[in-house]
Symmetry: D2
Subunit: 136 residues, 4 copies
Amino acid sequence: MRAHQTPSRHPQAPGSLDAPLLRAIEACHTCAEACITCADAGLDDAAASLARCIRLALDCADACATTGPALARRTAANAALLRQMAETCAELCQACAAECDRHALEHEECRLCAEACRACESACREAAMSLGATGP
Amino acid sequence: MRAHQTPSRHPQAPGSLDAPLLRAIEACHTCAEACITCADAGLDDAAASLARCIRLALDCADACATTGPALARRTAANAALLRQMAETCAELCQACAAECDRHALEHEECRLCAEACRACESACREAAMSLGATGP
Amino acid sequence: MRAHQTPSRHPQAPGSLDAPLLRAIEACHTCAEACITCADAGLDDAAASLARCIRLALDCADACATTGPALARRTAANAALLRQMAETCAELCQACAAECDRHALEHEECRLCAEACRACESACREAAMSLGATGP
Amino acid sequence: MRAHQTPSRHPQAPGSLDAPLLRAIEACHTCAEACITCADAGLDDAAASLARCIRLALDCADACATTGPALARRTAANAALLRQMAETCAELCQACAAECDRHALEHEECRLCAEACRACESACREAAMSLGATGP
């Protein structure tokens, strides 16, 4: 399935989502992917000891930005799924905190990030527990 | 207003969004912010010539990830607003492309990113035009 | 440019981003777009008076999630660009608040959203002002 | 830790991230959360049979938007973590597809979404497999 087929099938106003909009939607997707790769590749030129830290921080930020809203939406019938999301987020927080700990003495923002990550890891594990005892 | 007040007011099931979930939602927000700052601060240790490139790429990726869905949703009554979003996205693409051009010879991923940015800038400007001739 | 060309050009480990990962990256993009369209189309079945409110809220959430990190990264050389992003975000907040006001008496969460939107609109306009007096 | 402490600790230019920017960053976070709750609460007024579909689609879109970039960044030392993310994303795709299937005859966009979800579920499971045979 081509990516731009879906928006053009929107039932509300067939034909109204014309070609420039469709091209912009498609180009936005392609461009976002290129930017993410570009940013990441640039980090290889950074001090090697920080590159892993930066990547984990970006991953962790994204996981948090996904998990928070999902918990706010709380699709009640999917407690197992929400629990899995919370646990995955907790794992990312744990990994990011462990890496940030290694740079905490030199980099104050790493110390703060590790602190926030551990708080979030803990909160997510408690949220997962509150959603049910048995794991998927 | 404290951030966690809003989810707790959800009408569907008062009382059901209990404390661990609320703490996780709050911690996710705090952690995401800390991670973004941490990642960015780490880049200062990178080659100075690339740090600006990385930041612009992250900004541009976010702008694209916002603008694409907004155009797909196309709140019809707000053509002026969609136009402004598309134009802002185009400006970010232009800035990112200009910076990436400076590193294109040494970094193939910068060359590809600049290319995608220019395509997206063009597509967004056309989308903005198709949404109306006059300014916002 | 095909979307999956970019990640495969990552300099760090040519050949290491093999086909399943590339397909997953591509499928994630396509699926995200389909989901956004699907969610939005479903809203047409909702009470018509709320559909516009929901769409504006989703747009506004995305704009806020983009603008906050961009301001945190503060690419200093691009004050004009950051100002434009903050102003665009403010416009979305204003539009969302105006729509939410219309439903505030019946829907408490609309009243809270309008309140948060107005606070954010104000904060973004002040941020834009602090970034420079002249227009973009 | 208050959310706005972290950006103010950025080492590059102490004191340069002044109050309006900090308030905007904070307000963006609060507003995004309010918008997400508002959007979701509005869906309760929709046809009950679609509300769950809409929520799963939003969750799935977010999970895909997180997992794709994480795979593109491929923090090599964390294959177990990437695998867990890919598997969680696959679970969300599966749940969204199953729900969309129930509305596929009446809603073409649900049929397309289910199709994209199944493709993404499959791609993510293959990506997870390629990252290692043993469990997380």
